[in-house]
């Protein structure tokens, strides 16, 4: 059982892009499933601590749509993402558009459509997932990254610790 887990690497390859890289101790087809089956996605893609994901609809095929929505446990406010799949190549590549849905959270960070490219590579049981998010502009990129700086995130480390300690570990 791995005790030391990989940390996500976040880099800014250009003015309009963010790249997130992370490795998982699992075979690539399994990781691909966790990224494409809504019942599985819903269990891990929960965003900031204190948010749940009540809506996770994914029609994973070229031209298919997806809709993700998160809800705050504390005040029931909501926001989400939606988009269309452009490329679907199991188990190695997934390209989709992504538009911010301000929900009840509002338009604090208005963003144009972004293009998300997810690439999975495997090296003997270790699957590396690279997520490249290309925004329409530098402003949109910076606003997206800055969502991590919104009010609720001030106590994020504290909350994060709590959430992680609550995760069932075998």
């Amino acid at each position: 059982m791995p005790t030391t887990r990989d940390k996500a690497q976040v880099t800014l390859p250009s003015d309009r892009e963010v790249k997130v890289t992370r490795s998982f101790r699992a075979a690539r087809p399994l990781v691909y499933r966790a990224y494409t089956e809504s019942a599985l996605v819903q269990r891990w893609l929960l965003g900031p601590p204190g948010w749940s994901m009540p809506v996770c609809e994914m029609d994973v095929r070229v031209g298919g749509r997806y809709r993700w929505r998160w809800r705050s446990d504390t005040d029931a406010s909501e926001f989400g993402f939606a988009g269309t799949f452009r490329e679907v190549q199991p188990p190695s590549r997934l390209v989709h558009t992504q538009t911010y849905d301000p929900g009840t959270v509002g338009d604090a960070n208005p963003m144009s459509e972004a293009l998300v490219t997810v690439t999975l590579t495997e090296d003997v049981g270790l699957t590396t997932v690279t997520t490249l998010i290309a925004f329409g502009s530098k402003q949109a990129r910076d606003a997206a990254v800055a969502t991590g700086m919104t009010d609720g995130m001030e106590q994020s480390h504290q909350l994060l610790d709590r959430v992680l300690s609550e995760q069932p570990r075998a």
Binding site: M1, P2, R5, D6, K7, A8, V10, L12, V18, V20, R22, F24, R25, A26, L30, V31, R33, A34, A39, L40, R43, W44, L45, L46, G47, P48, P49, D142, V145, A146, T147, G148, M149, M153, S156, H157, L160, V163, L164, Q167, P168, R169, A170
Partner: protein
């Protein structure tokens, strides 16, 4: 929140977007150095190094020391810390998601079909 969208943050990331400048910062992290000393490990001219140093200086990442003769460059960690903090919060959200994904993948590997089926049935 304003300081995180400031020109200074832009200047920091611009300065960090070059491998030579990152190498210079890594060198300065070990202690101050003159332009000549900094240029030595690189296969580029001293004027080219000076140009990189100017970018780093403008971003506030390095300062010039008192010694008028050597004019040693020093690392200033503050802007780096700000830039890191800006990305760190964003990274924390991804990390929280990925830690959950770790747990899910472990579970699927242990007894995928059994645990998933019961979970789905009890939820509906």
């Amino acid at each position: 929140m304003n300081i995180y969208s400031s020109d200074r943050l832009d200047a920091t990331f611009l300065a960090l977007a070059d491998p030579t400048r990152r190498a210079i910062l890594a060198r300065l992290a070990r202690g101050e150095a003159s332009v000549t000393e900094l240029a030595k490990p690189f296969a580029i001219s001293q004027p080219a190094i000076s140009k990189h140093l100017k970018v780093l200086e403008r971003a506030g990442l390095i300062t010039v020391g008192q010694d008028a003769q050597r004019r040693p460059r020093r690392l200033d960690g503050k802007p780096l810390g700000e830039a890191n903090a800006w990305l760190e919060q964003y990274r924390a959200i991804w990390d929280a998601n990925f830690e959950r994904l770790d747990g899910l993948l472990e579970e699927l590997q242990r007894g995928p079909s059994a645990s998933m089926r019961t979970r789905r049935r009890t939820r509906r």
